[in-house]
Amino acid sequence: MRIEALFLLGVAVFFGLVGIAYWFLAYEQGGTMMLVGTTLLGLVPGSYYLWWSQRMKPRPEDRTDATMADGAGVIGSFPSSSIWPFVLGMGLFLMVLSMVFGLWLIAPGATLVISAVIGVTVESRRGGTI
């Protein structure tokens, strides 16, 4: 976890420095704001990871001497098939097309999006089928 944290904090430090230099050299708001945003992108998850890395034992994947047995057990829950990503994707596709081909496309698009949001939530709760 520690290397991951330092990696993200490195993003924050670099863009923080570049952002400061850029502001005092160019006085340009657009670029400076984007550099500030990039700094936060590294700082927020990076400091969270660092905070955790000092409070947890190294995971098997952080240890150079770990064996496969150290990592045995359930890794996580992986839905092996689900129709809802397709429904959600097509719903968003139709809603985007509605801005060009007519607002009536929002009706089927929004129906698909809402049913996908409900469907994917229900699927996660009951353990999921297609």
């Binding site: 520690r2 290397i3 991951e4 990696f7 993003v11 670099f14 863009f15 570049v18 850029y22 050299l25 160019a26 340009e28 657009g30 670029g31 984007m34 990039t38 992108l41 190294p58 098997p60 994947e61 952080d62 240890r63 150079t64 001497d65 770990a66 064996t67 496969m68 047995a69 150290d70 990592g71 045995a72 057990g73 359930v74 890794i75 996580g76 829950s77 992986f78 839905p79 092996s80 098939s81 689900s82 129709i83 809802w84 990503p85 397709f86 959600l88 994707g89 097509m90 968003l92 596709f93 985007v96 097309l97 801005m99 060009v100 081909f101 994917v120 353990g127 999921g128 089928t129 297609i130």
Partner: protein, 580 residues
């Protein structure tokens, strides 16, 4: 059904039976990273061939002065869509959606991507965005015609009327979201789903580069998507964010676009650097020279690339020239380190010139040429003289052809046995390489000269009395040779589909974990995993007698460096401990 993936420990681990839908329903519902990766690869290759055909039409128009093969509007629409398809729908998605989606979970020893359903959603958004953009050809007025950058005054509703520009903008927004989701997935998979012992400094370089690329995606793509939403608002909702008429600033669009656009160039380059860094050691029978140096070079390239966006805007006159010029020139240093490491890997290795290796060597030459002209363009005096000429076109194509085409197809040939469990035909791969190389240099070297003679980019026609004709003809012939070379790829895929030659699990005697899985890998990837004690666990497993180099040492914090450990009874065959 949800499957709780367990880490396989023993050889006797029961092959878990995966019963799911089949046929079309399987394609629509699968959340398997391998199937999604394959979908991405097929879709992006279709985009590549469409954009390639557009390039041939453009070159046909330019092969003679005052040509009337295409109308000016058709020419503008075709070069816009050629660039958009190649950059947004081929080069990026092929790498981070296709190859990375398929290979990265295998390389870290994971059963799937961290968020399989999000992964599937990002493919459907990508497909939807691609269709949205291509629909521009079918609406009245023809496709968007403002270049792949869509600069603000030109892309306003006044200068680009019709619905095709809207479709283009919305298509980019959809694929932007798809890229962001893939970026999240790649970072989380690398951080949380590694196999035991697979520390950060044992990850294959391809995975490292994809991690850095994913961070770049998370930096750059939200800004692109925001810029597109603002552009759409300017066109339809009466805002004046990018128009001077209402107090807005067109240069703001350029700032937003290039803050995305320059990292984008490296989003398109770093994954392909990763492929080259994985392929060259395998066919040199050596570990990668300077593993950690390679990682830090990748990080510095990515970091610097995000601070150089305005070097595309030198001629606007409102950017800070020394700042952006200095940072742009600095990128040459880590890129140079990479070149030395690749050459150092090949140095005194046992080279075998298979098709993937040839494509990697082709990449080295193409990218060297493109990179060096990039260093020239980073200098404002040269950029002012050559801006918007064919010099820039040639530079840009050499960089992106080197990465996305040379290294991309190196990756396709390299992992093809893993994807399908069968070999491609080597001789056809070599024909593909040599024709591609002849065509590539014949296409782009004349364009450098044309650029220095002053031929501007994005013109559909040029007068006969300027002497540009012969070089343009050469460039067009080169483009057609490139086109012919891809016939060999398609025939190769077709022949190996009809008459399969089994490849086995590890035909290349390769290094990284994906070659430990079966070809093609089973559902949830691994039935067993080798012990991971270096950055090339599969090679260690198959050569227990050889010297191995442990980069991470024995410490769990990964600070050790370059220990040479004798893992067995002396140096075995193919020993390669000469790095230390």
């Amino acid at each position: 059904m949800t499957v709780l993936a367990e880490r396989p420990v023993t050889h006797e681990h029961e092959h878990e039976h995966h019963e799911g839908p089949s046929g079309l329903l399987k394609w629509l519902t699968s959340t398997d990273h391998k199937l999604i990766g394959m979908n991405y690869m097929v879709t992006s290759l279709v985009m590549f061939f469409l954009a390639g055909i557009m390039a041939l039409l453009l070159r046909t128009q330019l092969s003679s002065p005052n040509s009337s093969f295409l109308s000016f509007q058709q020419y503008n629409a075709l070069f816009t869509m050629h660039g958009s398809l190649m950059l947004y729908l081929f080069a990026g998605p092929f790498a981070f959606g296709g190859l990375a989606n398929y290979i990265l979970p295998l390389q870290v020893g994971a059963p799937d991507m961290a968020f399989p359903r999000l992964n599937a959603l990002s493919y459907w958004l990508y497909l939807g965005g691609s269709i949205t953009m291509l629909l521009g050809f079918l609406v009245a007025g023809g496709a968007a015609a403002y270049g792949w950058v869509a600069y603000a005054p030109l892309s306003s509703v006044q200068f680009s009327p019709g619905s095709a520009p809207d479709l283009w903008i919305l298509g980019i927004a959809l694929t932007g979201f798809s890229a962001i989701f893939t970026g999240v997935n790649l970072v989380t998979t690398t951080f949380y789903l590694r196999a035991p012992g697979m520390t950060m400094f044992r990850l294959p370089i391809f995975t490292w580069n994809m991690l850095v690329t994913a961070i770049l995606i998370l930096i750059a793509f939200p800004i692109l998507t925001a810029a597109m939403v603002l552009l759409f608002a300017d066109r339809h909702f009466g805002t004046h964010i990018y128009s001077t008429a209402g107090g807005g600033s067109p240069v703001l669009y350029q700032n937003l676009f290039w803050f995305f656009g320059h990292p984008e160039v490296y989003i398109l380059a770093l994954p392909y650097f990763g492929i080259v860094s994985d392929v060259i050691p395998v066919f040199s029978k050596k570990p990668l020279f300077g593993y950690k140096g390679m990682i830090f070079a990748t990080m510095s390239i990515a970091a610097l690339s995000t601070g150089v966006w305005a070097h595309h805007m030198f001629t606007t006159g409102v950017v800070l020239l020394p700042f952006f010029s200095l940072l742009s020139l600095l990128i040459a240093v880590p890129t140079g380190i990479k070149f030395f490491n690749w050459i150092g890997t090949m140095w005194r290795g046992q080279l075998t010139f298979t098709t993937p290796m040839l494509f990697c060597i082709g990449f080295l030459f193409a990218f060297l040429m493109g990179g060096l002209t990039g260093v020239m363009l980073a200098s404002p005096p040269i950029d002012f003289a050559t801006h918007d000429t064919y010099f820039v076109v040639a530079h840009f194509h050499q960089v992106l052809f080197g990465t996305a085409v040379y290294a991309g197809f190196a990756g396709l040939y390299y992992w093809y046995p893993k994807f399908f469990g069968r070999m491609y035909r080597e001789w056809m791969g070599k024909w593909h390489f040599w024709l591609l190389t002849i065509g590539f240099w014949l296409t782009f070297i004349p364009q450098y000269v044309l650029g220095l003679w002053g031929m501007p980019r994005r013109v559909a026609s040029y007068p006969a009395n300027l002497g540009w004709r012969s070089l343009n003809v050469a460039s067009t012939i080169g483009a057609y040779v490139i086109g012919i070379s891809f016939v060999f790829l398609l025939v190769n895929l077709w022949v190996s589909w009809r008459k399969p030659v089994p490849a086995g699990d590890n035909p290349w005697d390769a290094h990284t974990l994906e070659w430990f899985a079966t070809s093609p890998p089973v559902h949830h990837n691994f039935e067993k995993l080798p012990p991971i004690r270096s950055e090339r666990p599969v090679w260690d497993y198959h050569h227990p007698d050889a010297l191995t180099i442990e980069h991470s040492g024995a410490h769990s914090n990964g600070n050790g460096h370059g220990h040479l450990t004798d893992a067995g009874a002396g140096a075995g065959a193919g020993s390669s401990g000469d790095k230390a």
